[in-house]
């Protein structure tokens, strides 16, 4: 079946380094993708989104890249900080918003 999935369940990154979180999707008809951050005990929080007519979008310290050829989405976090520790979810709009399983980002001191 069609799904949104993540390559790695856990990612450990040294503080100050860049983080790259990957996501694969299989529905080529999806035209909108979102990244969410969920801190422990809280609801998911919107980070950044991208439409399928774009291949890159930048926010504050975050960049989302979309490769429609291989149906791949990534979230890049520059200069990772302790406050970035969380679970990150990608999601796609298939008439309703469907989430992947998430990647836990762990920051090493």
């Amino acid at each position: 079946g069609e799904s949104v999935g993540l390559h790695l369940p856990t990612l450990s990154v040294q503080e100050g380094d860049n983080s790259i979180i990957n996501c694969a999707y299989s529905n080529s008809a999806s035209d909108y993708f979102i990244w969410y951050k969920q801190e422990s005990g809280k609801g998911p929080q919107f980070i950044i989104d991208i439409r399928s007519n774009m291949d890159k979008r930048q926010g504050q310290r975050v960049t989302v890249l979309l490769n429609k050829t291989v149906k791949h989405l990534s979230l890049q976090i520059a200069a990772t900080q302790p406050g970035d520790s969380a679970v990150y979810f990608c999601a796609e709009d298939r008439d309703k918003i469907i989430f992947g399983k998430g990647t836990r980002l762990h920051i090493l001191p």
Binding site: Y32, I34, K42, G43, P44, R51, D93, D95, I97, K101
Partner: protein
């Protein structure tokens, strides 16, 4: 209110009892979602309300689960005859009119349900 509000924030119930979880979406948002998140897991879609359209119930796991949305605003998720596997965080989210503002959905803090 300024954000999506859910109540109760925590609920412990005995197996077999019914529970109701409430969601107040952001004012003016026409779309409302319910998701379920088991410990350490992703977000499982349950149900989606969009304006006056018939809700998309395709994610409800069994007929013990139901949801309604009154007056296009507040929503209640009801779980009848709760089972231990129903223990999870139930997250509500809302978004503005589809097609505007990129369909970004905003989440509440969730209702933590424990069935003992």
């Amino acid at each position: 209110g300024a954000g999506v509000s859910q109540s109760p924030s925590n609920k412990v119930t005995e197996k077999g009892k019914d529970v109701e979880l409430r969601c107040d979406p952001i004012s003016g948002h026409t779309a409302l979602y319910w998701y379920r998140q088991s410990l350490g897991q992703g977000l499982e879609f349950l149900i989606y309300f969009q304006g006056n359209s018939a809700p998309d119930k395709s994610g409800l796991p069994s007929d013990r689960f139901s949801a309604e949305r009154t007056g296009g605003s507040v929503s209640t998720l009801t779980i009848q005859r709760t089972q231990q596997e129903d223990s999870a965080v139930y997250l509500c989210a809302s978004s503005a009119v589809r097609g505007l503002q990129g369909n970004t959905i905003y989440f509440g803090e969730g209702s933590w349900l424990t069935v003992v």
